[in-house]
Structures are given as C-alpha cells and as structure tokens.
C-alpha cells in the first residue's frame, strides 16, 4: 500500500521534475535565438520594410488585378540576379507594382550550388506566410560569394527577424515541407518549358495572357520598363 507520505513525496518530485524541464526548455529556446534579436537589422543591407504595404500571395508580389505580369527566373546566389535586384527591382516596385499596374511572380532555381538551395527553400517557406519577396530582397542585398556557405543559419535568423510579419521559426521549419518540394519542381519544369538557360531571365505579358521573354540589355530597370511600357500601349 502506498503511504500518504510516499504519495506526497512523489507529487513533489513530479513538480520539481516538471519545473526543471520547463525551465531548461525556456532557457534552451531563448538561448538558441540569435544574439542580434535586439537589433536584428543592424548588420543587414537592404530595406526590410521595402515591400511592407504591397500585397503578396505565395510567390507573387503585387495586386492580383494588375494588368501586367512579370515572371522572374532567378538563382539567389547568382550575382547578376542580385545586381538586377539592387538596381532595377526597387524602381519597378515603386513605379509599377505599388500603383497596381504589375504583379511579379518569382520562379526560383537552384543550380549554382548548395547555398542556392537553402536560400531558395527559405524564401519559398517564407512564401507560405506571404513574405517570400521580402526574404528574396534581403538575400540579394546581403548576397555573399558563390558557394562560400554565406547562407548561414545566422543570416537566415537575422532576415527572419527583420522582415515585418514574418515568423522566423515557421519559415525555418517549413523549408523541407512537401509544398516547398512541389514549388521547387514546378519552377524547374517551367524553366525547362520556357527554355531558360541562365539567370536572371524574365517573361512579361498581360496577366492571364501570353508571356514573352524580356531581352535584358542591361541590369538596370530600363529593358523591363521598355517591355512593360510597350505592352501597356498595345
């Protein structure tokens, strides 16, 4: 028979055990957060709030009612993609996306190396919270040399905490979900279908209509602007 003293002792032990586990869990979870949490954007290039008020839906930036669509094929490690993102993207966002004239669809590829894949998976996972474009923008503006391991957990943590309305833990946890796998495969098949042989590559056209390749004569906004303006006046 269990004495009441032994029962009381076992209850006390249970309380101590539970308290110890919970304390260790809270401490462990908080210490695994990046130290930069207090000032997460201090070492990040780029503007985490650039796209804050713009609608996003998965891999698409801009209003679903926008009359024009631009498709971007890119590898997040590709230096030319990053240069285009720095020079052309903010201007296109300001002049076309923000006024509701253009929606941009991101089709990520990962052919440069391992950093490409981890960066792309992170961006696609952020897309599940409709914050893909913020992560893409910050990855481009903080891009390192190809295949040097620059897509570190620390960088992703800082990007995750810097982007408004993005739950960093969920982004990191959803990088290997079936949805991300499917998006990787869909973009890869679409690139083969569209004959994409290098990045960045763009297709543009009326939303819901036929998209045609944009000839990139330079990495500023001019070639895309010219193409879009040509579509607008037809």
């Amino acid at each position: 028979m269990l004495s009441r003293g032994l029962l009381a002792a076992s209850l006390a032990v249970a309380g101590v055990l539970a308290a110890s586990l919970i304390s260790a869990s809270v401490f462990g979870a908080s210490s695994s957060e990046p130290e930069e949490v207090a000032a997460p954007t201090s070492q990040l290039a780029g503007d985490p709030a650039l796209l804050r008020r713009l609608p996003q839906d998965g891999t698409v930036l801009g209003s679903p009612d926008a009359p024009l669509t631009l498709v971007e094929y890119a590898d997040l490690q590709c230096p030319f993609c990053a240069e285009w993102a720095r020079r052309a993207f903010p201007e296109l966002v300001r002049d076309y996306v923000a006024p509701g004239r253009l929606r941009i669809e991101f089709r990520g590829l990962a052919f440069v190396g391992p950093d490409s894949e981890i960066a792309l998976r992170s961006a696609l996972a952020a897309g599940q919270q409709d914050r893909l474009w913020d992560v893409v923008h910050l990855l481009y503006t903080n891009q390192g040399a190809e295949n040097t391991g620059w897509v570190t957990q620390d960088l992703l943590d800082r990007i995750g905490t810097a982007v408004p309305d993005l739950h960093a833990g969920r982004m990191l946890g959803q990088r290997w979900t079936p949805l991300v796998e499917r998006q990787l495969n869909v973009a890869s098949r679409a690139a083969a279908r569209d004959g994409i042989s290098g990045t960045p590559a763009f297709l543009a056209g009326p939303t819901g209509g036929k998209l045609e390749p944009v000839v990139l004569s330079s990495l500023d906004a001019a070639p895309v602007r010219a193409h879009l303006d040509g579509l607008s006046v037809r």
Binding site: H167, G169, T177
Partner: protein, 151 residues
C-alpha cells in the same frame, strides 16, 4: 476496477505513447517525413522547443513511457510512486509544450496532440492507482483473501 487492470491500462497507454514518440524520434533522425494533417509537425519539430539541453523531447518522452511501462511490472509502492512522479511531470511538461505550440510557435503538431492525450491517460490512471493504494480502497475491491496476512 482492480489495481491490476489499472496497471495493464497504464502499461498499454505508455506503450502506445512510446510508439508515438519513437515515430517522432525516427522522423527526426531522418527515417522519413512525418505524416501530418495539420501541417505544423515539421515546424514544431524544427523549433528550439523540440529539444531540452540538446536532448530531443521525443527521446525524453520515449524514455519516460518505457520507464512507466517497466514500473507497471511491479506491484510495489515505490514503483507506483516513481510512476506517479514520471507521469505527472510528463503531463505537466506536455501541457507546457501545448501552450508553446499554440502561443509561441503558432502551429500544432498532430503527433504531439496524440502524445498529449496518451500522457493525460497515463497520468490519470496512475493517479487513480495511487489514490486507491494510498486510501486502501483497492483492498476492498480485491478478491476475497487477497489482503489476508498469514500468521
């Protein structure tokens, strides 16, 4: 319900819990992707709360369930007391993790919810056993002669 039946019930629920935690642990170690209807399993398992001091929570759960099932092999008060401590601590810790999933991570994990149900059953049955044993009510429901002390 006799103490023996309760012991079997606790052992069965603990073995079921060991199966769930074993599955979570095998998925964590790369045996395959978790089957997850809520879609939150991977997120929860990848969070900082899925480990305590570097030990996967699923491994702690597996060890706890195995220990409780093992303790149910013995009818001694000390074994019951140890089972009470483990089951109640596991239940409290599971409740904490449930709050973390809902309020901090923002995702629920199917298998964690199944585990929560099982650990609640284990804790409830063990507490009933302990209460009966401590108050001596088990003696009244035991077969006639079971409480007879020779001599």
């Amino acid at each position: 319900m006799s103490l023996r039946v309760l012991r079997v019930g606790v052992a069965a629920a603990a073995l079921a819990g060991a199966g769930v935690t074993g599955y979570l642990l095998s998925a964590r170690w790369g045996a395959g992707e978790l089957v997850c209807r809520t879609g939150g399993c991977e997120t929860v398992q990848a969070s900082g709360y899925a480990e305590v001091l570097g030990i996967p929570v699923a491994a702690l759960g597996l060890a706890t369930y195995a220990a409780i099932a093992f303790l149910m092999l013995f009818a001694s008060p000390k074994a019951l007391a140890a089972a009470v401590s483990l089951a109640l601590a596991a239940c409290l810790f599971s409740a904490y993790l449930l709050v973390v999933q809902a309020a901090v991570i923002g995702e629920l994990c199917d298998w964690c919810l199944v585990n929560d149900a099982l650990v609640s059953v284990v804790a409830a049955l063990v507490l009933v056993m302990a209460w009966r044993s401590a108050t001596g009510s088990a003696a009244t429901s035991a077969p006639r002669g079971a409480t007879h002390v020779p001599g």
